[in-house]
Symmetry: C2
């Protein structure tokens, strides 16, 4: 085959994949264009994506980026031989999905291998998620996609043991229930190696919140060992290479704000399968501002998770929960951690919405695990929480992960301002999106002490001058910005007495 | 709004768009992720795409590439202020097309503005062409798309004059008919400012072939002036900024081998409209190995071009031509130029297939332009060619472009090898794809003297030892590679006498 010897010019930039930069003349001589591929030969051969320039490298040179430099251990001026390479076969499979055809197990495998290897360019990955968004997959394809995502990544194997997991579809701020659910389940002798995400666009992910107690970056071996020892972990999913295709695909889903149902189902279930789970409780928050606006949406998705679970030998139960406003009263890492601690410690000010949701979810798991009979899980979960056994288990897990549970509260941002009601009224709603934007403006999740305290939830009566919202920040500057945003886009909506009176009249 | 001051670190790489590289910590603080956008503020404000790293730039630094460096005229260590920016509105329009909705004129405009400005990332451009491939557009949308592509680019205005253009859908090697069609039309007093492409994946584009006579890189003013003076140009479309969205969209279509019908129609017609054409002859080659395998495919596409033409006040006539084998006998720049010259000069060895196709296409234009009545164009075009007036006009145009027509032939590659028939038989077919691959292996279109001479076309009887194919190259090395490829994948398919005898018997 036609090849071409070119001198390396090193660019110390990481592109996340093998890519070379060719002068347009050399690209033409090789018969390749931007987005095509070349085989780059040194002692070994690597396939790289092509980009072209007419100025940055000269004819006869090949621009080499960090990934390839490291792989080949070459410096400036080394000689590499380049050959044009075929398109990967996965592209034919992507085009098949564009044309509405059903993909075979083998075709899906080819796509996922190339996703994980970094073989596919952003252009190709984007075509994949767009085709999935438009043409979807049937359940058999989704099963293959899930298995493939598990196969090409790290897995944890608990042997034949029953292993639980819990997942929330997300979209609800302040959803710190994992901090209660995991210790309740583990306290009853069940295994639950729970990995969580950091916030991508949200206010604070469970991994962000847990981090205030100590390290959350566990590897597969640590997850296995700590779970075997204590019954559970509460760690960051990004520290372990479970179903890594997901993280790569998210990189193109995010700029398009896309989340094709087939990919969502496969991504969630692949992470669970890879961590070794065979029993799963799904939390499906529904309501205004969530990913599942109506109960019907939640039911439909729940059924799909259960069907996919059957195919994957994973028992799935779903809880449709109310997600139209934050869970509990706090949003932000330290504030949420303190609220969860209050609930674990049985303190009076622990909000009922947090406790209710946590024991409901944990209760389902206790029933699935045979700890109690059907219908008795909720009461048992509540008992584990009230007895202090959940707090003891929480402390045990945090310490096993290398962290520490403080005696009192975790310090929160010292710059604080409270926004009061300017009129009498009822809280008609709390806007999740506005709450998230405001929490991010305070510095969350980066600033651990930053966040929000919501004094009143939906339905509460509020008098003029009563506090609605307290804003916490770690700098005066961020506090000012957040306060300005809160005034511009108030996240708590009050309805005046006039409307309320009408309502009262109707209720008579 | 929250902003962040960062120190520049310059990377001398051109990315074709405004992009910045942030350390993950700064990206998190700004609340942006890879593929999101930031407003970068210096004296002015520019929106740039975000990529992130945890190693190449340090916290507090912003990696700045050539485009932004040039725009802001900054060096290393300058301070820029960055703010998170919203997604462009065009992304909502792209997602609307994903969800099968019809786009408005305004939505299409937003997409094309952002394509031309380099605002859209590869991920977003790919989602656009994938959505178009799957969900298509109706004719009203295609009209808006075409007009939008014209609007956001350079245009040439010939006032109220009748201006012709000719376009071939392509896919047929050796299709050098423009070199005959343009001078025939211009010799009859009509205007035809013909821009052509270079080969992207083909053997040789018309612009590549014309280049052996001299410069083909004309700007808009030169196209206008030379056309007004001589009646025509035969130049490279890439030298002028006509409907530039097309070139950007092709960059993502190419790696996916996609060519959505709506985008194809709009791209072709936008280039024609932008050059000022109001009458167009479309060449629709059909047959095995072309883009339009059956006559029905060609008819369907032809009807769409005519309907779109009506909407754009452009008169379109279509010629469905046979494209199942190369036009003429040569493939490659100098070889094709010589063959076209032979036809212009009326030499005996000029292949009939080239002359027939050229006069048929030119004849349609002569009828559309009212030079002759309906049904008389073919004869008139042939007369213009035979009389030498086409040659004179060709010479005039080439010289006006700054080139020169040689007295004799243009030199071809001195390394040559002829492949002979190993048996008696009939040429059952010439494989276009194999011919193109072989021509590219000889060095075409980069090596002007490289290419192929096809001694026999489909249906010819060939005796053992007779030449089938002569390969021309500019280096011994490339000749060897091409010969090896020709033996591995013979582009000329012979059918043996046995089959032929059966055929003879049936014909008795």
């Amino acid at each position: 085959m036609m090849g071409r010897e070119l001198k390396t010019r090193i660019f110390d930039i990481d592109l996340g994949k093998y890519q070379v930069l060719l002068h347009k003349e050399d690209a033409e001589a090789l018969g390749v264009h931007p987005g095509d591929r070349v085989r780059v030969q040194n002692d070994e051969t690597v396939t790289a994506l092509v980009d072209t320039t007419d100025s940055v490298v000269q004819p006869g040179e090949v621009g080499v980026f960090l990934e390839l430099k490291t792989r080949f251990d070459v410096g400036d001026g080394a000689v590499l031989r380049l050959y044009p390479a075929e398109k990967p076969q996965s592209i034919a499979a992507i085009k098949k999905k564009m044309h509405k055809a059903k993909l075979s197990k083998e075709e899906i495998d080819k796509i996922i291998v190339d996703v994980v290897d970094g073989t596919l360019s952003d252009v190709e990955l984007s075509a994949w998620v767009t085709a999935l968004e438009i043409n979807d997959m049937d359940m058999e394809e989704i099963e293959h996609l899930t298995r493939s995502m598990v196969k090409y990544g790290e897995t944890i194997d608990f042997g034949g043991e029953v292993v639980f997991d819990k997942h929330s579809i997300g979209g609800v701020p302040g959803n710190k229930i994992t901090l209660l659910v995991v210790p309740i389940i583990a306290a009853e002798g069940l295994l639950i190696p729970k990995t969580s995400s950091r916030a991508v666009t949200g206010a604070a992910g469970t991994a962000d919140v847990m981090e205030v107690f100590g390290p959350v970056n566990l590897n597969a071996e640590e997850i296995y060992r700590i779970t075997k020892k204590t019954g559970g972990v509460m760690c960051w999913g990004g520290g372990v290479n479970l179903a890594p295709a997901d993280d790569i695909i998210i990189r193109v889903e995010h700029p398009l704000s896309l989340d094709p149902p087939a990919q969502l189902l496969a991504s969630v279930m692949a992470k669970k399968k890879a961590v070794g789970a065979n029993k799963l409780v799904m939390d499906l928050p529904t309501g205004e501002g969530t990913k599942l606006p109506t109960v019907d949406d939640a039911r439909k998705l729940g059924r799909m998770f259960m069907e996919l679970g059957d195919r994957l030998d994973m028992e799935v139960e779903c809880a449709i929960t109310y997600g139209g406003q934050p869970v509990g009263k706090t949003i932000g890492c330290a504030l949420e951690a303190n609220e969860a601690l209050a609930a674990l410690r049985g303190l009076d000010h622990a909000p009922r919405s947090l406790i209710e949701k946590s024991v409901a979810i944990a209760g389902i798991a206790l029933e699935m695990g045979g700890v109690v009979g059907r219908g008795l899980g909720h009461a048992r979960a509540e008992e584990v929480l009230r007895s202090g056994r959940a707090l003891a288990k929480f402390t045990e897990i945090v310490e096993a992960q290398g962290g520490k549970v403080p005696k009192g509260d975790i310090p929160v941002g010292k710059f604080q301002e409270t926004i009061n009601a300017t009129d009498d009224g009822y809280v008609a709603g709390i806007n999740n999106k506005a709450i998230v934007a405001l929490a991010r403006a305070t510095g969350s999740p980066r600033d651990k002490g930053a966040g929000l305290f919501v004094h009143h939830k939906r339905g509460d009566k509020v008098d003029q001058g009563e506090p609605l919202l307290t804003i916490y920040a770690e700098s005066e500057y961020k506090l000012r910005e957040a306060v300005a945003l809160a005034k511009k886009t108030p996240p708590v909506r009050l309805e005046g007495m006039l409307l309320q009176r009408l309502h009262d009249i109707r209720e008579i």
